[in-house]
Symmetry: C2
């Protein structure tokens, strides 16, 4: 048996090559555009909350979703202590498959891509929800995802100045070094409250798996948009519940966000609006420039579907990736046993004769 069905493998290096080929802002914008298009056809997707397997040090999740033609899923972990072992906190890969036959068509790295799609989702939500003319963002949590958020808001919302804070000064220094020369005014702050001062948008992207209070009500001024990215797991929140009560809360997919989002702190009937309703024009984003808007983001499978279909299209048009031998191609599809080619070896004596 030597043949296998066509299945493209995209490595992390393929995604790096793609970013070099078309540019990081263009990748983020391309994924954001796809997410928007896919959110506009929300009802066409077979949606479910992700399946999580929790352990003392972290979580492993499977995130499946499908429309009538494509099935996608992501494997993703979250292990905050991994960095002490030299491993990323979040590692991910995903698969795109054909609904008509069930055959997988692409296996891709999603560790880098998850950061791109999360930044794309955040900026799409902010473009939809924030008041016009935002130029300053607080970026609280300067870890693995922070630069992607900065780049997304720089290029998709025209954010000019970013106020940085992290409990770990080394993380902030890493961000400063990474984003030097990218045209952003970067201001280092000594606390989350200081970072929030005068910010039009507050982005929280912290990693600790605890019920933290990164943002409390006194930090929140009229008209601000809060992009809460890091509270995305049971027992892992970033916003004081008083903050959630100050504004209008938007989520990706309500059943999952009730479990994982900052709104896990609130009663089951605490009012939230799914973002697709704003994108489709069913619900207005905000009634005034002084209203506070909160995007309680957790990361939904549809965003990975959008990212995977974006990667698949780019891989095909640029010729990135290679064949992966994973599914056997059978001469006779009803003859799986024949694929073992046992005729070429002598039958074994029975184990119980």
């Amino acid at each position: 048996m030597s043949n296998t069905l066509p299945l493209i493998h995209l490595s992390p290096n393929d995604v790096v090559r793609l970013v070099h080929r078309i540019g990081l802002p263009q990748c983020i914008a391309g994924v954001a555009e796809r997410i928007e298009q896919d959110f506009l056809r929300w009802s066409e997707f077979d949606k479910s909350a992700r399946v999580a397997s929790h352990s003392p040090d972290g979580v492993v999740e499977l995130m499946p979703i499908a429309d009538a033609t494509q099935f996608a899923f992501k494997y993703v972990n979250g292990h905050p202590k991994n960095t002490t072992l030299g491993l990323p906190t979040v590692m991910a890969f995903g698969v795109l498959a054909d609904v008509a036959t069930g055959a997988p068509i692409m296996l891709s790295e999603l560790t880098l891509t998850t950061a791109i799609r999360t930044a794309a989702m955040s900026s799409l939500a902010a473009r939809t929800l924030a008041r016009p003319g935002c130029r300053t963002m607080a970026l609280i949590g300067n870890g693995a995802q922070s630069e992607f958020q900065a780049m997304a808001f720089r290029h998709l919302l025209n954010i000019q100045s970013i106020r940085l804070y992290d409990v770990d000064k080394a993380a902030t220094n890493k961000l400063l070094s990474n984003l030097e020369g990218f045209g952003l005014d970067l201001v280092v702050c000594n606390s989350a409250a200081e970072a929030a001062l005068g910010a039009d948008i507050i982005t929280t992207v912290t990693a600790d798996k605890t019920n933290a209070t990164i943002i409390s009500p006194e930090m929140v001024t009229p008209g601000v948009h809060i992009n809460a990215v890091g509270g995305d797991c049971p027992g892992k929140t970033e916003l004081h519940r008083g903050v959630l009560e100050m504004g209008k809360v938007f989520v990706e997919y309500e059943p999952q966000s009730r479990i994982e989002g900052d709104i896990q702190q609130m009663a089951a009937d605490f009012p939230v609006t799914e973002l697709w309703r704003v994108l489709t024009g069913h619900v207005p984003a905000r009634h005034s420039a002084s209203q506070i808007t909160i995007f309680d983001s957790v990361g939904f499978a549809l965003e990975d579907y959008s990212a995977l279909t974006f990667l698949y299209e780019k891989a095909r048009s640029y010729g990135f990736g290679r064949d992966l031998a994973l599914i056997p191609a059978l001469n006779d599809p009803k003859n799986l046993f024949g694929a073992l080619e046992l005729a070429s070896i002598a039958p074994e004596p029975s184990l119980v004769d």
Copy 2:
């Protein structure tokens, strides 16, 4: 960015090589032994019913499971019409991962392996439930999985004679050709009822996604063990409900079997026994040689966990498989952005400047 974390890729050909190296009966026996060991520590596993995405032509399922050290999942489809397109009805792959860090450690083909593990599960259940001295088996449904069932029962239960039936005579002829020279007395029958005549064990492994009646009460004689493999999906059953009422019904994991097994036809309180209770000695298999036992098998994630850990051990000891570039190895795990090496390319102008 060029380095990736260690992750073994096992192709279908690697599994064929393994079967040639140690023998198919030994593979089936090895997986059956692992399944038994894993079922004996049933309570250590974080179990859930699989997540299914149904479409008009089939289903795609994700089957996750974990103990304290390893997480495993299988991707598997079921598309009965695939064979008309030259594709297998069932295609599968799986991943083994480290619970402590969330890092995947092996990606393996599971199309061939699923047939091996299903045969291993069936023979383990029959060895546990069937009366001693069974020598004749009816094998109804002679498709892709049938030879694996035949080999498993030949070598693990000492079945000598197999009575074959399939609505498609070509399927039976394929089985006859594949199993020539393997020491089995193969008897072709003209109906399921004829195949069941005098059989000690009745195995049903048909593929149609319908509520079929492959076995009806008049075919079932005292003392028989029924190994019902093909009824494994909502709307896909093989046994007349009267058959289920004739004997003691055993299942893998009750919450999943209530949805997918032949017992989907029965009331929610229809009595069933999870097989692990018999293996651990909590519940007797049967009270007499004349009792009828029914293994209403649907395929549970734990069996794939057992198969994946078996493959992982063999791959390492025989040096099968190769590295797969899927998860980036970062010089600084907190610096995902740095892996993009954007410093080597000129910053792009902003998309919104």
